[in-house]
């Protein structure tokens, strides 16, 4: 909504020129990235020698770095809070400006509405969600979800007639009370409650829309369901052929695909690339990658940058299936190529990615990996086992448990990029294709960040967790709790070599007790926030080590057990992440208060910490806990992160 108050269909030319926008520009600048390797600009051929060692030594953990941001228990000088978490463009920058820092409340009391005085009210109002809610008429015009309304149309009346197809919720008396209160304080409730509205019936987001059955009545119903989705991803070729869309049958939405293509190519024709616009409460972000257009349509309030990262990941999946030379060849040969055929079988992977973004994916948001927390010595034993049993053709060897990295071995001059690992994890743990087949798998795939020009071959073996004695455990164990051994090679004939290596590794891990350690770590699940800081007010946190490109977070239990609660949490993280990483926002601490939580983003050159507490927690307590989490993370660094991995 906040975007709507700005220019709504603007061309965001000022957002930088590089199509491959990285989420954390600073993090890629860091010299020391353990799992990340520099962009293979030179198009390194798979496993050739031309790569210089990309791994400088670990960063010096200078004490000054460690001390600097911590100024005592209440040392986090959180600026006056804003109750408008989603107003990334206006409120966030206002709060973070250094000249406003003097407005800090020394007594630590929460002054919920103070922000509205500081942050200048939006220049234009288009009515916001309150006006949408008033709409009961369903005279659907399809244009609503596509048409962008420029500021010139920005009166409430116009918008009312444009926004249709939104199923409003009956206003409860509780709502009205809040509403009155909020009006008194001059705060528009649409900012506070918007998230709730957006997430209504969130569990239906992933329901399939049936194929079109031809009857008009059905089509209307299906379209209404299609429009009710919070998030869409579309991929089309520059010739306008649909390649992939998350929701809806081709026939159902062909009109929309056409409109999207027309809008994009209109700007393309004017040599003026369209990057994003807002319409109908949804943010449209467009990414042009060679012969493909990727479009994200979201009502979930992510920033453009965050949506772009998601589109990037989808594009990476396509490259992973086809490789760049194949993709460009297909289109240079025949621009009207229907990419669906060569991509056949990839849709489940794309959908798994798209759905994880809709649910909220910490690895994507923070562009980092999560590791299984085990003792350093235990990890070293696993590393050594992999190194010992390594076969000639091995490029990368990984042990993964429940989507978390346990161990990685790699050649000295190659490292693994998190976005590549994310593709692999998505394939193994989100999509069904590999696991459901049982047995072992031999998968040709391209790891685009490693080398987008060629295929690697991945041996995958899921280990039977069910060998455990406790039958209850094993029946509960979802595929998120499974251990997999991944062995990647550049040689497509090396299946049997890698297979015997797997056998040797697993046998050794069983013998030296590592397997039991991994199983225990998985069974125990993630720790609780209260395990780290006893009695903490924190409900959840994410600590990202920028140097290692890894993050650690506690369990979602007990505060975020449902899908909806998780999405809310992730929405909050998206908001404070966007605030902290907004262009020109050189802030260190971003503090945010909303009806349901208070939260904090703390950015330093070496780490990023995002934490969330209940609404009644005091800012002091939040700051104290944040400090404790940082201390803990530094103390346990070698348990929660893989530092460098084992090299050969």
């Amino acid at each position: 909504m906040s975007d709507a108050t700005k220019s709504q269909s603007e061309l965001q030319d000022d957002h930088g020129d590089s199509p491959a926008v990285r989420p954390n520009p600073t993090s890629t600048d860091l010299p020391t990235i353990a799992l990340q390797k520099p962009e293979p600009e030179a198009g390194a051929h798979v496993s050739t020698e031309e790569k210089p060692p990309p791994l400088p030594p670990r960063p010096a953990r200078a004490d000054s770095l460690y001390q600097a941001p911590i100024v005592g228990p209440a040392g986090l000088r959180a600026p006056p809070s804003t109750a408008r978490p989603r107003l990334q463009a206006t409120a966030t920058t206002a709060v973070s400006r250094t000249d406003i820092h003097t407005h800090s409340y020394q007594d630590g009391s929460r002054e919920t509405y103070a922000a509205s005085k500081q942050s200048s009210p939006p220049p234009t109002s288009w009515g916001g969600w309150s006006s949408i809610k008033r709409l009961k008429s369903q005279e659907a015009s399809d244009s609503a979800s596509i048409r962008s309304y420029a500021p010139t149309l920005g009166t409430a009346g116009d918008v009312d007639s444009l926004l249709v197809g939104f199923s409003g919720q009956e206003q409860t008396s509780g709502w009205n009370i809040f509403n009155a209160q909020l009006k008194e304080t001059g705060l528009q409730h649409d900012d506070v409650f918007e998230e709730d509205m957006v997430l209504e019936n969130f569990d239906q987001e992933f329901d399939e829309i049936d194929a079109l059955e031809g009857e008009d009545k059905t089509e209307e119903r299906l379209l209404a369901r299609w429009q009710a989705k919070r998030k869409h991803f579309m991929i089309l070729s520059s010739a306008g052929k649909p390649v992939y869309n998350r929701h809806g049958d081709d026939n159902l939405i062909s009109g929309y695909v056409g409109i999207v293509q027309t809008i994009i190519s209109f700007y393309e024709g004017a040599q003026d690339q369209l990057r994003g616009f807002t319409a109908g409460g949804a943010r449209f972000v467009v990414m042009s990658q060679g012969p493909l257009y990727l479009v994200a349509i979201s009502k979930l309030g992510e920033s453009d940058l965050q949506l772009r990262v998601q589109l990037e990941a989808l594009y990476m999946q396509i490259l992973s299936t086809l490789t760049l030379p194949n993709l460009t060849h297909l289109f240079s040969h025949r621009p009207s190529t229907d990419l669906r055929r060569p991509l056949q079988g990839t849709e489940p992977l794309l959908s798994a990615l798209a759905d994880s973004f809709t649910r909220g994916s910490p690895p994507t948001l923070f562009s980092a990996l999560e590791c299984l927390r085990i003792r350093k010595a235990h990890r070293e034993v696993i590393n050594d086992t992999l190194l010992q049993k390594r076969c000639e053709s091995l490029l990368y060897g990984l042990v993964v448990a429940g989507g978390r990295l346990v161990s990685v071995v790699r050649p000295r001059r190659h490292s693994l990029h998190p976005s590549d690992l994310q593709l692999i994890f998505n394939m193994l743990f989100e999509a069904e294709g590999v696991k459901a087949g049982g047995g072992e798998n031999w998968i040709p795939l391209c790891l685009p960040s490693f080398n987008k020009n060629g295929y690697l071959y991945m041996y995958v073996s899921f280990l039977d967790v069910k060998e455990e004695k406790d039958p209850q455990q094993s029946s509960q164990a979802s595929r998120h709790d499974e251990i997999a051994v991944l062995l990647i090679s550049a040689n497509k004939e090396s299946f049997y070599d890698l297979r015997s290596m797997r056998d040797a590794v697993v046998e050794e891990l069983e013998q030296n007790g590592s397997m039991a350690i991994i199983r225990t770590a998985i069974r125990n699940g993630r720790f609780a926030a209260t395990d780290i800081v006893p009695g903490t007010v924190l409900h959840h946190f994410v600590y990202k080590s920028r140097a290692n490109v890894q993050f650690v977070m506690p369990s979602y239990e007990p505060h975020f057990t449902t899908l909806l609660a998780r999405r809310r949490l992730l929405s909050l993280y998206h908001t404070i992440h966007a605030g902290a990483h907004a262009k020109n926002a050189h802030l260190k601490v971003h503090h945010c208060i909303s009806r349901s939580s208070i939260s904090l983003a703390w950015i330093t050159p070496s780490f990023e910490l995002y934490c969330v507490a209940g609404p009644s927690a005091s800012r002091n307590a939040l700051a104290q806990s944040a400090n404790k989490v940082v201390q803990w993370a530094r103390r346990e660094e070698e348990r929660i992160f893989i530092i460098g991995g084992a090299v050969f």
Partner: protein
């Protein structure tokens, strides 16, 4: 073949088998039925290839199948030689509701005959026979169905979910109410022409699945067993042998093989 009829210690040998065929004809489902006796509705496509093993007990020996279940998508086709090289047997699968899949199956058979080990035993399999509503010209499939009531099929059928494939088949656009588009006769005649084993199966109901693998196991000559990992042996009479075995298996000791191959 039956010389080493020692009862107690049956010789055991491994046989490399590769599944080929168009995408979505049910290759993985056949293997899953054979290996786990399990069927999964709306299975996601295989990526790359899956490698599974399963033992099959014959009266005189034990065969350990090393199965390469390949992905049917076009883009994986170039990898196929790596899987069928040195394979002693191949299962070429088509979907009886989809005529184009038989065309693709013919291509695979031709490629195998041209490029694979000369002695490779090929079985042509028409899958999804549960979708057929008529006993299409041949009585084989329907009679087999009634005979085969013992398998774990019933629960799967009770679970319903027949709609998805059925709808897909109707999309092929035909006034014909029977979703079957490839007659048993057509498949059988082609198989006989080329000297292939032939079966119509249903991974969903389990119909004929065990029989296919048993027939293949029987059709592989002992000489090949001894040389498991090595390159395929030259065996000129293989295809004829295969065809002979087919006949034996279809009419003869079906009950026998079912009992013995209780894997």
């Amino acid at each position: 073949m039956a010389e080493s009829a020692a009862a107690a210690t049956k010789p055991s040998s491994s046989v490399k088998l590769v599944l080929l065929g168009e995408a979505a004809v049910g290759k993985s489902s056949l293997v899953l039925r054979f290996v786990n006796n399990h069927f999964q509705e709306n299975k996601e496509p295989t990526i790359g290839a899956a490698f599974l093993t399963q033992k099959c007990n014959l009266p005189h020996r034990t065969i350990k199948f090393e199965i390469w279940d390949t992905a049917g998508q076009e883009r994986f086709a170039s990898l196929a030689p790596m899987y069928y090289r040195n394979a002693q047997s191949a299962l070429v699968v088509y979907d009886i509701t989809k005529p184009t899949s038989l065309v693709k199956a013919r291509h695979w058979v031709a490629e195998l005959q041209r490029q694979a080990s000369p002695g490779i035993v090929i079985a042509l399999v028409g899958n999804k026979s549960d979708l057929s509503t008529s006993a299409d010209g041949e009585t084989a499939s329907s009679t087999d169905n009634s005979k085969k009531g013992s398998s774990a099929a019933s629960e799967d059928e009770a679970n319903g979910g027949d709609d998805a494939p059925a709808v897909e088949a109707e999309d092929d656009g035909a006034a014909d109410s029977d979703p079957r588009k490839v007659s048993t006769k057509e498949g059988r005649e082609y198989a006989e022409e080329e000297g292939l084993l032939f079966f119509e199966t249903s991974a969903k109901s389990g119909h004929n699945v065990q029989e296919v693998f048993t027939a293949i196991a029987n059709a592989i000559p002992e000489t090949q067993m001894k040389n498991v990992k090595g390159p395929g042996m030259a065996g000129g009479a293989q295809s004829a042998l295969g065809a002979g075995n087919e006949r034996v298996n279809l009419n003869g000791p079906r009950a026998d093989s079912k009992d013995s191959c209780a894997c």
